[in-house]
Structures are given as structure tokens and as C-alpha cells.
Amino acid sequence: MKLLYCGFNAFGQLPHVQATAVCELTEFPQMSAHDVHISWSYIVILSDAASPQDTAQVACCERHILSVERSGEVSKYCSDSAMRTALESITSDNITSLSCGETFDAFATSRGCVYAAMSPVLHLSSDHVTEVACGNEHCLVLTSAGAVYSWGTGSRGQLGHGDLEKEQERARQVDMLAGLKVTHIAAGGWHSVALADTGDIYVWGWNCEGQLGLPSVGCKGRKRRQEEVSVQTEPALLQNVTDVQQVACGSRHTVLLLR
């Protein structure tokens, strides 16, 4: 597949382009890839040339790149050491998905256990984890049954429980999505997004730059102040948006791919 890029380019993220910012989607030359992960410091491209069998999952954040092999071995790479180091195993179970954020890393095992910051925060008895996503201070977990759990700091409503409290002991289910089957989750710096099997999008967390797609104080244009949302503490359905196929979040923005 072709790889297209737009965004900041002062570090030569796009090797053949001089400008410090790339405003239009531009193709990576001579690159055919099947997956890409992007963070403040790293772009990780899983190219078609390499064998896709070995690496099960990759995640990156400002601090490092984490990858987990099919064998279950987790490695860490960071530009300081220029070396790939194996991560001490936190569990003997197979790690099936992982994610990292600004302040901590999260791992999900084949036996339905999720570790954040190296201690277990969730045990599922009859379900298993399909996705884990990390923001700057929180973590979201999606199970195969379509349930969403959240963990971490909630001071901007990013946990979705209708308040600003944190959940540090155990990940807690986002009850307001309990009637839905969520198929995909994404976490931004301080916001969360869930895609339901109906193609609908639910958003919660910080909206300082309009990253939730709701009226924001940060946006230009006249709006009645009553409509503006700064912090959304429980999932809200995005109106006028349907048939969403995929969602991804940056630190303070969200991107939806429609069918």
C-alpha cells in the first residue's frame, strides 16, 4: 500500500521534502507498507518488504517504540540506546495487544488481563481484550463483546463516567456505552472515541480545540456560548456522522474514515 503523510516536517519526517510543514497529503517515495504508527518522536512503518508474520503489534509514543512478536516477546526501542531491548516480562501469558502513552504503557494478555504501568488493572473472566489505547494520562480497553473500560486520570472527563474522578485501582467499564457493541476505540491526549457497530461515533473528554467534534470555545466563528462544550464527561453521540469505518486520534485532534 502507498504511504501518505502530512504534518510537521522539521525533522525530515518526509525525507525528500524541505518545507517545515507539509499541508497536503504527500506520498512517501518508494515505500510500500501494510501498517504505520506515528507519535511525537517516531514514525514506525511496517513495510511489505519485511515479513509481516513476526511482529504482532507495534505501538509508539514520545518515549519509545514497543513491539510484540507472535512469540509473545515484547521489545522496546528508543533512540537513546539505538538498541532493541527485551522488556522484562510482567507476565507469563501471551501479550496480545499493547499501547503506550505519555506517562505509562498498557498491555493486554491472551487471558483477558490488562496491565497498565506494570500492575494489573483489569481481569476479564469470560471475555478477551481486542484493543488497548493510551492517551497522555488514561487508557481505554475494548473487549470482544464490545464493552469499553477506562483507567487513569479523569480530570478532563476522558474516562467517560460522568465525573472528573480518577480510576487508578481498577479499570472501570464505561456504563453509558453498555447497550452498544463497540468495535473500535481510540485515545487522544485527553480525549476518547468509540466506534460502534452501527457506524456511529461516541466522543468524550477534552474539547479545548474542538477535538470532540462538538462546538468549542477554541474555534473561531460565532456560537451561542450555551452550545460550547469544554469538557465532556460522558460519551456523547456525534450527530450527523454515520457510516464510520475507522477512527484515529492525535494529541488534540481526531480523524474519522467514512465508508
Binding site: 522539521a10 494520562e137 470555545v217 460550547e228 469544554s230
Partner: protein, 398 residues
């Protein structure tokens, strides 16, 4: 470390094209400052923010010198950058750059340009009659209370023994007689002139979980225009105060840090030197001085603060209701660590069926007029409503 590269890039070619680089530093550092609790943020990222702000201002000023168009926008952007630098940054240990001074120079330059542009079309509208209330306290709906005791310029010792130590509120009169502010701030055009170009964080809404809550950065001139002057024309119909569902809590936390010229108009009350701590050798924490500036009808919902508070009314009038910490149960504080200093009861619309104990709570009341101060002891619940455009200064100390 990586951020150092960005800064080097900008310094090398300081022009309009290098602005995205320095803004990347500011943007990234801003995110670091917004992670976790503000009080836990280490010094280093705040200093980095200040350093980046300095570089951005330098780049903008270089463009200002070289360009012909958009000069005003460049200066305004530099001004906003300096204000954010004051609010979020921390002074650098090396070098002699003082962000407050930088901000003052920029502010003066902007004011000069803007008055030139107005061509002497000085604001002739009367900036003074917005500070007179149209309706009295008796027109406010809800509970009434016993008047708080009033003392006229009490001695330090009397205040200490009868109020500070036993933690009993009091209204103090004749303590602001030498404050230039009481006269100078009567004219809103003075504030507009001295501080109009400055950016302040305006918090609108009673608290975070309130769906109406939002925080917006705006210049004081914009704030005055959209929130204060527009209210002036609002009807003086009876019941206005009861009808208006405003929950605007507007406090400028950094106001005096940003505009030191106004600090010369006020004086820290001598009562603030009192301390519960008997250890004389311990250095006292500096007093927190905050500005509360807002239109008629602004309201602080019932809440309490951890420090001693002297609320000094400079211009305009306020009605304050007080409850002692002993009444806390009757006020039904919110659950949760973020909001438990805010009560659920609304004194102006008491709901005795949901909150039955509130009926027996003892209410104290105070009508604060210009030149008067109210002493609010720590943990005392207070509810504040402004009766007209009002500017108060609060002194928080331990």
C-alpha cells in the same frame, strides 16, 4: 533535548517561516504543562515554555520590523505570547529577561498604536455609571441571613483576638481609604487603557462538571466589550436579577502579575500579616492576590476555600451569604475529590424537598459596598452575587 533542536532551528533563521518550529516547542511544552496536576508540574518545562516564548516574541518582532502589512496582528500575537508566558512559564535562572517587563513594553506599544488608530476618538461614553446597582439586595430571591458584624478599622490585636483566631467573619470599613484604586478604577476606560491589550483566562460557568463551564483566553478589552458593556443596556425591569440564569465566575488569577501598574493602586491589608503559625522563623508564604472583575449578576456558587480571605470591594457592590464549617452537612457538598468544596444547595432557589437539612442552616449575610472588606475565615462557605458591574480584589493567606 529534542526541543533544543527546534529552538536552534528557529534562532538560526528567525523569520516568519521559522515560526512553526517555535510554535511546535510551545505546543509540545504546553501539553507537558497540562499533564497531571498543575502543582506537580516540575520547573523545567515551565522554564522551557518561557524560553520558547522569548524566542517567539523575538521572531515576531523581527518580522514586525521587516514587514509592512499585518503589523498590528504581529504585535498582538507577541503580546498574547508574553501573557501566556507569564501565566504558564517560570523565570529562567540565567539571563536577564523579565517577561513582565517585556509584556509591559508590548502593552504600551499596542495602546499607543490603537489610540493613534482611533485618532483621538476617545471613548467618551461614561465609564462610571455601570458601577451603580439598579436594584437592592432585597430583590434577590431566596434565603436571607443575619447581618455579619461590622467593624470600623479595628486594631490588629482586636481583629486577631475576636476574628482571626476564633475564625469568625467580619465586615471591615474604612480600611481602603488610601487605595488609589477606589477612585481610579471607577472609570472603566482607565482599566481599558492600562490593561486592555492583555490576554487573560476567563472561566465561565460555576464548575467543571457544569455543562455550561468553559475557559476562554481573551483580551481584557474584548472581555469588557462582550461581557461588561453589553450588559449595561440590559433592562432594569424588576426581577431582572431573579430571571437571569447566569453562573459566570470570572476571576483573573494572574492579573496583578501581568499588570503591575495596577498593583500600585491597591495595598495589602495589614491583617494579612497575621498567621496561625507561631513559628516566627518560618518564612511566610506570599499572599495570593486575585482580581474579580465582572458584569452585573455574576455569581460564585456556594463553596469554601482553604485559606483566610479578605475580599476588598473596589468598585461596584456584592451580596455575600456565609455559612460556618459546622453547617457543612446541611449544605450537601458534592461527592468526589474534585468538587467537595462546592455545595449542592442553591441559596437563591432552595430545594427543601431534596435538601431538607438546609432549612435549619444558619445564614449570615453581607452587603459589600465600595471601600469595604469582608473577612472570610478558612473553610467558611460563601455565596457571592454581584449587584452591578464589580471589581473586587481578594487576598488569600495562611
Amino acid at each position: 533535548r529534542r526541543l533544543q533542536c527546534y529552538v536552534k532551528l528557529t534562532v538560526a533563521n528567525m523569520d516568519i517561516h521559522s515560526l512553526p518550529n517555535i510554535e511546535a516547542v510551545l505546543g509540545r511544552t504546553w501539553e507537558i504543562l497540562n499533564t497531571g496536576h498543575w502543582k506537580d508540574v516540575p520547573l523545567a518545562p515551565r522554564q522551557l515554555y518561557t524560553a520558547a516564548a522569548i524566542v517567539k516574541i523575538a521572531a515576531l518582532l523581527k518580522c514586525y520590523k521587516e514587514q509592512q502589512a499585518n503589523k498590528l496582528e504581529l504585535l498582538q500575537s507577541a503580546m498574547k505570547t508574553a501573557d501566556l508566558g507569564i501565566m504558564l512559564g517560570a523565570s529562567l535562572s540565567a539571563g536577564n529577561c523579565n517577561m513582565t517587563q517585556v509584556a509591559q513594553l508590548l502593552s504600551e506599544a499596542l495602546t499607543a498604536i490603537q489610540s493613534e488608530a482611533n485618532n483621538g476618538r476617545v471613548n467618551t461614553e461614561d465609564g462610571t455609571n455601570i458601577y451603580k446597582p439598579v436594584l437592592g439586595t432585597e430583590s434577590i430571591a431566596g434565603v436571607r441571613g443575619q447581618p455579619v458584624i461590622t467593624l470600623d478599622r479595628p486594631s490588629l490585636e482586636k481583629f486577631r483576638t475576636e476574628h482571626f483566631v476564633p475564625q469568625v467573619p467580619a465586615k471591615l470599613t474604612s480600611c481602603m481609604m488610601h487605595w488609589p484604586a477606589v477612585d481610579k478604577w471607577k472609570d472603566i476606560n482607565y482599566i481599558r487603557r492600562v490593561a486592555g491589550a492583555r490576554t487573560v483566562p476567563v472561566e465561565l460557568g460555576s464548575h467543571y462538571v457544569d455543562p455550561e463551564w468553559s475557559m476562554k483566553m481573551m483580551t481584557i478589552a474584548d472581555f469588557i466589550e462582550t461581557h461588561i458593556m453589553q450588559q449595561r443596556d440590559d433592562s432594569t425591569t424588576v426581577g431582572y436579577l431573579a430571571q437571569h440564569p447566569l453562573f459566570d465566575l470570572i476571576c483573573f488569577f494572574f492579573f496583578f502579575l501581568q499588570v503591575p501598574e495596577l498593583i500600585g493602586d491597591i495595598f495589602e491589608p495589614e491583617y494579612c500579616c497575621l498567621s496561625e503559625d507561631l513559628d516566627d522563623s518560618k518564612e511566610a508564604e506570599p499572599t495570593d492576590i486575585n482580581a474579580w472583575f465582572g458584569p452585573k449578576g455574576t455569581l460564585s456558587p456556594l463553596h469554601h476555600d482553604p485559606k483566610h480571605n479578605l475580599l476588598a470591594q473596589v468598585v461596584g457592590e456584592k451580596r455575600i451569604l456565609l455559612y460556618s464549617p459546622g453547617e457543612t452537612e446541611k449544605l450537601y457538598p458534592h461527592e468526589g475529590s474534585m468538587l467537595n468544596n462546592t455545595a449542592q444547595v442553591n441559596p437563591e432557589k432552595p430545594d427543601y424537598s431534596t435538601f431538607p437539612k438546609y432549612k435549619t442552616a444558619q445564614t449570615w449575610e453581607c452587603h459589600l459596598q465600595p471601600g469595604e472588606m469582608l473577612y472570610i475565615p478558612p473553610k467558611w462557605w460563601h455565596h457571592v452575587r454581584s449587584l452591578c458591574t464589580s471589581f473586587s480584589v481578594s487576598f488569600w493567606w495562611t
